[in-house]
């Protein structure tokens, strides 16, 4: 009997195979997985796009729309959004001497009644620079009141705005009061120098939109005074989102305001969330009496009134009158808003610290800093990001509120909050001055909130996709 002696020829070499058959889904890191799930959340993605658009609006917008946000255009005050307009070029405005009677004798006594003024007429071309109204003398009257209405008066009580009064020897009035290119109903009422006689004569005037040649040059609408003739038309400055109460371009102001609002909205949360992470991380990781001490201090900070500190910082920093309060606002936010993040992070760290894998790592000889960097911080990242996205709208809102009450930016620097503050005064007559900044605040805050919601879901490791 001999043992079986295998021959090498009996064996055949198998071809080298890279790997065996694998039945597995593609390996995704935590972040990749989160991103996959975030992409499925439409609201979050729309929000993210809005935020990217806002960033473009803020950073690139001013390069494309190069209008000085502080430049006043008093020809176009409180204009709603409109298409570009053209205006008549006129001579520089000269005050009108008007029509006066020489050797005027005031009536000896107050007449009981007088006839209505006759021959009420507009002198010269009525433009938005000036409307000149003249009339003939009314016997017995010792003065005239001039009214203006935007619709046809129905009665003596409905003459509209009392523009002014003239003495008895003045038979004309020059109206320059924020004129627009529309129909105006002027009424002339004779007076005895104080009281009105209940008669009036009415005149409809439609002034043409006009700009003086000097102003057109000053504003850069024409290259030289000779470039246009009096009576020509020029296209005046275009304000796509309208203008504010001093004729400043709303779009340029919104872009400028976005810088302030988003600066506070992003820098402040980044800073205070960072403070919160470090503080909460320490407290949670070290634990014990130290933790108790740190957390009681955090409670104390929560109790401090924000507004009061904001004011104190403003004074302590020697922020003089008319200077921006943005830096004290930033400091006050950072110093007072970190406890919320600190608490969250601490809770998370306390929990993770007790996990099995931490214990295992420690047994394998991992040092503290390795544990913190490798295991604890990455595992708290989800919470931190979510806090951050919710902190951004809160900070934007705080800035808006503080600027609204006048504690924030100094004029003429706009911020969305201060623009709302100015716009609210003219809410009924010029709603666009409030609407646009309010819209931007709302959209930004909403976008960050929805993104935060999406991130909460995406970063929750319990929700990791199984498909």
């Amino acid at each position: 009997m001999s043992l079986f002696q295998p021959d090498a020829n009996m064996f055949e070499r198998l071809e080298t195979q890279d790997s065996a058959e694998i039945i597995a889904r593609p390996s995704l890191s935590y972040w990749q997985d989160a991103w996959v799930r975030l992409k499925k959340n439409t609201r979050a993605i729309i929000s993210l796009n809005i935020i990217i658009l806002l960033a473009i609006f803020t950073l690139i917008g001013p390069l494309l729309w190069q209008v000085d946000p502080a430049l006043q255009d008093l020809n176009q005050v409180s204009q709603p959004p409109a298409m570009p307009k053209s205006a008549l070029v006129v001579d520089p405005f000269r005050g009108w001497e008007g029509i006066t009677i020489d050797n005027y004798e005031p009536p000896a006594d107050y007449a009981d009644s007088v006839p209505a003024p006759t021959n009420v007429r507009a002198e010269g071309t009525a433009t938005t620079q000036a409307v000149r109204i003249a009339w003939d003398q009314v016997p017995g009257a010792d003065g005239y009141n001039v009214y203006r209405n935007v619709r046809e008066p129905t009665s003596f009580a409905d003459l509209g705005l009392p523009l002014g009064a003239t003495y008895g020897d003045e038979l004309s009035y020059e109206d320059r009061l924020s004129l627009e290119a529309r129909d105006y109903y002027y009424s002339i009422v004779p007076t005895d120098g104080l009281d009105e006689y209940e008669v009036f004569t009415q005149l409809v005037v439609t002034p043409k939109l006009a700009i003086t040649r000097d102003e057109a040059l000053e504003r850069g609408l024409i290259d030289s005074l000779d470039a246009v003739n009096i009576g020509d038309e020029v296209t005046i400055e275009f304000h796509p989102l309208g203008t504010d109460y001093l004729g400043r371009d709303m779009l340029a102001r919104l872009m400028e305001g976005a810088r302030v609002s988003l600066f506070i909205g992003i820098v402040a949360p980044l800073l205070y969330v960072l403070v919160g992470i470090i503080y909460g991380g320490f407290a949670g990781y070290i634990g014990g009496r130290f933790d108790v001490l740190l957390m009681r201090f955090a409670d104390f900070v929560v109790a401090l009134p924000f507004l009061l500190f904001m004011i104190l910082f403003k004074i302590a920093f020697g922020i003089g009158p008319g200077e921006s309060g943005i830096i004290p606002m930033l400091i006050a936010l950072v110093l007072l808003m970190w406890p919320a993040t600190a608490r969250l992070v601490r809770g998370q760290v306390l929990q993770i610290r007790e996990e099995g894998y931490i214990e295992a790592a420690r047994l394998l000889g991992a040092k503290n800093h390795y544990l913190i960097m490798r295991h604890i911080i990455p595992n708290t990242m989800g919470v931190i990001l979510v806090t951050l996205t919710f902190a951004v709208p809160a900070a934007i809102f705080t800035e808006a509120f503080l600027s609204f009450i006048g504690m924030g930016v100094a004029p003429p620097t706009p911020s969305w909050g201060s623009m709302c503050n100015e716009g609210v005064k003219t809410m009924l007559s010029h709603p666009h001055e409030l609407f646009f900044p309010a819209l931007f605040i709302s959209i930004t805050v909403l976008a960050f909130n929805l993104l935060g919601d999406g991130l909460t879901e995406a970063l929750d490791s319990k929700m990791r996709s199984r498909d």
């Binding site: 924020s178 120098g193 009924l428």
Partner: protein, 533 residues
């Protein structure tokens, strides 16, 4: 369902009934209901300084003389008066009574004036007595109060010795601070004088019967008033105290009050509701006051001249304020002041700078040379009202765009602004001045070096001299010539930058007639108002 409908109908009827009944005027009882802007801060006539107190006091008290509806002087407690360069003698009417039935005597005036002048009273308006002999020394504590040059010769004759000839002395006596106070009543009340409705004695057309602090007050016709037959209104109910113009317009629309002032926003609502809008020029002048203290850059004439040449009051009034009624600010002397025969400003037209950026730049270059280089940011102090901050922003934009000057806006509350003005903590300040009496001097001495209201400490001896001439002369021509020259000096020095003369617009219930708007004195004045059917 039916029940609900019934209830709803009841509610609806009640609601409609309520609005139909609500009326701020009552023809049968001749009463009107109005609102005031704030609680009267000081009802002691010797100490009152503000407009609201002046308005209420003007209905409750009467001075020696008063103004009629066209702003002319008419007899008040004094039946007639005589005036020389040295003396004014007032003959008081015998039927002028206090609300408790005792006669108003010359002693009551002497006592009131002495009280206001005593340093212990610390009346901010004590300076208004200074034309009276020894008044200033008494106010400084150098002489006892009984040395005042106002003496009751008997119960009904008051003789006032003047420190210097004062052309406008009679007009002064219509002012609040000159109202009488009865000594025995004043002393019996002590510190509580004028604190409540029954802590005051009245000698005017109305008496205050009810004063709920910060809520309402009620004035009814004074049965002891000597001229009560001329008074038609039985009561003025001040049911609302609010400074909010929108709230007041809502009250007016709802038929709760008979009068309210409108502002740049509310007037558009009033227009669309087809209310009759009226206009009135308050007589106050608003201007930018420069700080002339030597350490400030605004003490440089060329810098001020530069600003003067780019500021266009017409644009300010028509495009920035954009509320009808305001007039271009061309001078610190408003248009309504009387001159020799006509209005002062028609006789002495205000010099105006021609708007020119080029000229302004030349001035600015000179200013830079004199100040040695760049001009530091200027601080513009403004009060915290929406209009004031808007004007501040306009000035800021103007000076930046036209002159390249950096301006910082310092927004402060009224009190804080006054404190900063007094301490000189500003470069420019948005200031205003309202008249106290109907004479050019109420504006004339405003910029005099000795006037504490000259907060920028402007000092020009030539101007001071002209003010002295106008103060000490009784000849209208001499006085007005001096003021005309003073106007020119203020312009040449660009001492202040006049911005606008304040105008206001308001609505008044159509059934109320005879309400008087005044430049000087209680405004609006309901004394001779009546309700028509």
């Amino acid at each position: 369902m039916r029940r609900i409908t019934v209830i709803l109908t009841c509610l609806f009827i009640q609601l409609t009934d309520g609005t139909a009944l609500a009326s701020p005027v009552d023809f049968e009882n001749q009463t009107i209901t109005v609102a005031i802007t704030q609680e009267p801060p000081q009802m002691n006539s010797a100490k009152a300084t503000d407009q609201v107190s002046g308005l209420v006091l003007g209905h409750l008290m009467e001075g020696l003389v008063r103004y009629d509806r066209r702003g002319r002087l008419e007899p008040g407690v004094a039946e007639r008066w005589e005036m020389t360069d040295e003396k004014a003698t007032f003959y008081l009417r015998k039927n002028a009574l206090w609300s408790d039935g005792k006669p108003v005597t010359a002693h009551d005036f002497v006592f009131a004036w002495q009280t206001a002048l005593k340093p212990v009273t610390a009346s901010e308006y004590s300076f208004i007595f200074f034309p009276i002999k020894n008044a200033q020394q008494i106010n400084n504590g150098e002489l006892p109060a009984d040395k005042l040059g106002a003496v009751a010769l008997d119960d009904h004759t008051l003789e006032v010795t003047l420190e210097r000839p004062t052309a406008y002395f009679i007009k002064l006596t219509a002012f609040n601070t000159f109202f009488p106070i009865r000594e025995d009543f004043f002393n019996s009340k002590g510190d509580k004088y004028a604190a409540n409705a029954d802590d005051l004695l009245y000698n005017g057309a109305f008496i205050m019967t009810e004063w709920k602090h910060s809520a309402s007050l009620k004035m009814v016709k004074n049965p002891n008033y000597w001229n009560k037959d001329e008074i038609t209104l039985n009561a003025i109910n001040v049911d609302y105290i609010t400074a909010d113009t929108r709230a007041r317009l809502n009250l007016y629309t709802d038929g709760k009050i008979a009068f309210t002032r409108l502002d740049g926003e509310t007037y558009k609502d009033a227009l669309s509701q087809r209310f009759r809008i009226r206009r009135f020029t308050t007589g106050s002048v608003f201007f930018i006051e420069y700080n002339h203290r030597p350490e400030k850059v605004t003490s440089n004439l060329n810098l001020r001249k530069a600003i003067q040449h780019v500021f266009d009051p017409d644009e300010m009034v028509n495009r920035v304020l954009a509320v009808p009624g305001n007039l271009r600010g061309e001078s610190i002397f408003p248009v309504w002041l009387n001159g020799v025969e006509d209005k002062f400003r028609r006789e002495y037209p205000a010099p105006m700078a021609r708007y020119s950026v080029a000229t302004a730049q030349q001035y600015l270059d000179r200013a830079r040379e004199e100040l040695g280089g760049e001009i530091p940011p200027l601080v513009l102090l403004v009060s915290d009202s929406p209009t004031a901050t808007k004007q501040g922003e306009y000035m800021q934009g103007l000076m930046l765009n036209k002159l390249g000057l950096d301006v910082k806006i310092d927004v402060q509350t009224f009190k804080q602004r006054l404190a900063k003005m007094t301490s000189g903590d500003f470069d420019m300040v948005g200031a205003g001045w309202g008249p106290d009496f109907d004479d050019i001097m109420t504006f004339g001495d405003l910029m005099a070096s000795w006037n504490l209201n000259n907060r920028g400490r402007y000092n020009n001896p030539a101007y001071d001299r002209l003010v002295q001439i106008a103060m000490n002369s009784t000849d209208p021509k001499t006085r007005m010539d001096a003021m005309g020259q003073a106007q020119q000096i203020l312009f040449d020095d660009a001492a202040v930058l006049p911005q606008y003369e304040q105008g206001i617009i308001y609505v008044l219930h159509p059934k109320v007639k005879g309400v008087v708007r005044r430049v000087v004195g209680a405004d609006p004045d309901y004394t001779h108002a009546k309700v028509v059917p």
